[in-house]
Symmetry: D3
Subunit: 241 residues, 6 copies
């Protein structure tokens, strides 16, 4: 199967990380292509960022329409996810959505760990949106971060291990999600230092996408409409219905 | 005070209705200006529609920045609301947000009535987002609608009265929200046929905006950032922080 | 419009504070009259206090029936509020109700700060009653207090600023409610020391009352009944239906 | 043990019913005394009624202070319950509280049946207050009622059997509460016509009160205060702390 | 009445404690018999333990069928409780179920205290199962424990008093449950050192069982079925329907 | 990978159905073995059935320990699932768990359809246990069923299509779960008659198990203990820790 992975921000170093994590997680028969959002912002932090990252993500998905069997939105917060599910006729998964569901199947209560507290409100709203608040043991986040998102995983690895352990020992987490696109690929590196399963959203989404392809096809009603003021490929997607 | 009202869709006949309803509700000292979204879609129905209507709404708000003391997003579903609250330094209210809060103060349980069932999922998610599910007595929606949104209020007035009465008698509603931008201005027309307060989102938002102006000012931290690929006024708003 | 504000306790120094805060928040055309409960208790702290403050508040409202266009119950906990909404044919707002709704429109998550932990259970039950638990970031309360409630706002101003900052920094509050009738008027005094909007329940209730007057009138069914054993004005209100 | 049962309304025919039901449920060593509220209303239906019934109930409890080992508030809605628990140093139970807890122990999901829909809002708020909404399978209520509350149990017995059966068959109730003081004593009369346990609030409260007496004594801190404007016995209770 | 109490684990020293606590709580006319699970595990800690303790508990209940008027499952976590309620035609109560309900009637919010954190996940799931999460002020648990469960109550009495006080002072508990079969009988020993009611699950269950016997009989439909692979008495219970 | 599928009941015709559905869903490299519970009951309907099916399921899992890389418990209700996750060091998935999570990723709200209302309470408790009640649009169940569970899928296919359509049209389901082991394999047969994705729990569990294998390994602490009174293989599993 062909899998398109979209990094919803414009930072190429993060896209490279995500691509490597996605390829490492993919099954042998899966061909992975990873792209950055064609426009938008270098890091998605606030609610406003999340909103504008949505059409940017849709534009990337629309530009390659017909060239993939499933897609992954690789930004923790899942910008554009619900819209993409409505507009496309292949499975689309967000990395937070996949992480929450995978973690729920790996442990009764999961913790969420990330590198900066600035992301917590977006993550909390995303968790509530997916309806799994009751399965979450709590959040553990690092302090403010102002460097290169493509390097934060290595720079804050020790801190993240500590946060994971606190999640297990103090919050009772039975699985821990390493949240945020910039942390893609970190889980296998630090897994042996944390006593419960570590979930990487990108890896989870890749494998969940493989699982859903072909599981439950459904005809999608067409209702082509004229969208103005957005990228041509997004308008084309709307026109196609 | 100066109040900007933005219709998040591009249908001028709906904008005209909203403008009339807003002016009718405004206090003497309030100057109302109502505009349509500069681009996007003629009616906001689906989750995808809601997403793309967000930047369209922000573009309208950004284009007149500095020319209003408060703003209302006049689309039931509140596209772009959270982002606008982050980006602007004046109060911004959505008409669903205002309707939910006003109705909660007028009755313990409120019903939500609208002209077409197609809007229900968006309304339900909007209600959940605002955290007032526990105050809602239920939804009563009319059948599918394919005509001019600017005329539906009059065309379906009798049906809407029936739905309001069902909400009161069968669901126990103590106030009823007439939901959806296209129903702006209908509440006073049918109020004497329904035995509980009828809440018009546009009117509620106008009066709530008047109430909030000056109530609780707060300095907003500036963090100007470069947004690419969107309308220049929206990029300017991001750059201003 | 004419607005009656009722302090549900019998402490005149608190009534004086509330009156000043109400007048400061009122629009030019609003005539404010503030009264104490005609009997009851000097401070409302426990569930039992809340109960007996209800009929005391109703008696104050009943005594001036027909002389106001809207009323505010100025005791955080809203004693008698639901009954007053049933019995009166003008809008009645509680200061906690108004604070919770106003704060929800000013920030996604609001904190609640007050001068003594003894009030927390009553505030928590009041919050749950209004259905907005999901919007609350948490409570921050000062230690036990035994002095004059009319002076506590000034005496504990520095402590309250600290609690507000903790609410923002540790709980993630995007708006903070200064809760309790005795804190009326404090918000503008300390607003420049807290980085998010501060909500004063009295001010919020005054402005929300102005907003609701005329927004959604509804005929109220009359069902006069004989109430015995309470103040004559309350019996008269019941007899009037 | 000595048990005081207070009917929170002033209708003697209902008090007589409640007294008979309480005596039928009491264990051999329990001495039951049942009294009406000394003032207030003949039937408790609305939120306003509930409020004024609270001090009336407290007055009855205060008048006999020291003469009982436990007390039951025999009005479905439990007016004055939380206050009574704070003010008295013996166990006080409400008949709805007892019914909800007993029914929860008799079946995973319980239905609530009563003679008139007018009581539903009060019952729902009472259920929410006790925190057992998740155990409730739903409400089934008869139509409006305007007769003698002391006779409604017999007059509507067949209707109530039908509602109980609907609760079992359509809502999945595994136990059914016959709710409302006026239905005291009906459960054993119709029990053989309903296929699940029927819970009478009065009987449940009597037996729960017997169970709690002596189970868990705790010293209650004294804090005598001056209450004005209420019946002398209630002021005395407050003064005693 | 005859009451069978089943300790769901196989540790006789715990059974002895439970028996003493049950007899101390029972009314004069109640004959108590306490038995250990006939097989299974010496201590029930994990979810797997809980599962296998279920049939072991049912086997004990089945072996004495017809010889008791009510039964108590004396293991905090209530293994086998729902099944026992379905299979037996007398009231069956779990000690956690009884403790949660009794504590709810003794205080608005109850704390849960136990000797080892290892039990917390099981207790939390049990609390959620009974639907009373909203009434719980929080858990306070001691550290890991590896000694004789029959002695832990005395060995950790001081620690448990401290945890109870923290529950009251920091969590706002108005009643505290001493949770876990091994703590049976401790409550009266330390009650004078804690300022709120202390609830012993065994005592609560004994008294609740007395309360429920005869309260609400209901015919139980018979549907005899063949169960294979379990103890003969359990198969006999299934065959009897 | 090697996948063990356990039918938690003893009906071979159901096991045969499940085996066919599992093989049809498995990826090319997956070797599927399906077994019945070695003892227990022919159909799992009640809470008591669910309990005794747990050790029966564990016995099947224990008997083949070391011979599979992941396991599926193929009984809607997931008996023994939490225990199996604790005791085994490979991923174990229940078919209801997998169906709920897969359906959540295929649509915002999923319906649950099955052949007999008798299963509804067990399904509802299972859904609540997995924490996804908020994602469920409702249940649609057929009438009582007394025939061969191995044939019900074909016998009631038309009825099930109708229930699926009601779930979509009246409840707003965006995906529908065909619930219950006896319906394994029906989804692809009727998929073209329902306008949203149909989720077969067995197929979903097989693909989710493939996805989770290797995703997030974690060392499992060993704590061997002596379990008495159960099948030797189950005791061996406990002894191994």
């Amino acid at each position: 199967m062909r899998l398109l992975v979209v990094n919803s921000n414009t930072t190429e170093s993060v896209t490279t990380r995500i691509d490597a994590a996605a390829r490492a997680a993919a099954s042998p028969g899966t061909v992975v292509e990873t792209v950055s959002a064609p426009f938008g912002l270098p890091l998605i932090v606030s609610r406003a960022d999340w909103l504008v990252a949505g059409p940017a993500t849709l534009a990337a998905l629309a530009a390659r329409r017909g060239q993939y069997d499933a897609a992954v939105i690789a930004c923790f917060g899942d910008p554009g996810l619900d819209a993409a599910k409505e507009l496309l006729d292949v499975p689309v998964l967000g990395i937070s959505e996949a992480a929450f569901h995978a973690a729920s199947m790996l442990g009764r209560r999961f913790g969420v760990v990330s590198f900066t507290a600035a992301l917590r409100p977006m993550f909390e709203e995303c968790l509530a949106h997916h309806g799994l608040v009751g399965r979450c043991a709590g959040f553990r986040m690092g302090p403010a971060f102002a460097g290169d998102p493509g390097l934060v995983a290595e720079q804050r690895a020790d801190l993240l291990v500590d946060l994971c352990r606190q999640s297990v020992e103090q919050d009772g987490a039975e699985a821990v999600i390493l949240a945020g696109g910039p942390l893609a690929g970190l889980a296998p590196v630090i897994a042996d230092r944390v006593p419960v399963p570590l979930v990487d959203g990108t890896a989870a989404a890749v494998r969940m996408a493989e699982a859903l392809v072909g599981l439950a096809p459904a005809p999608r009603p067409k209702r082509g409409r004229a969208l103005t003021g957005f990228a041509p490929e997004l308008a084309a997607l709307y026109a196609a219905g």
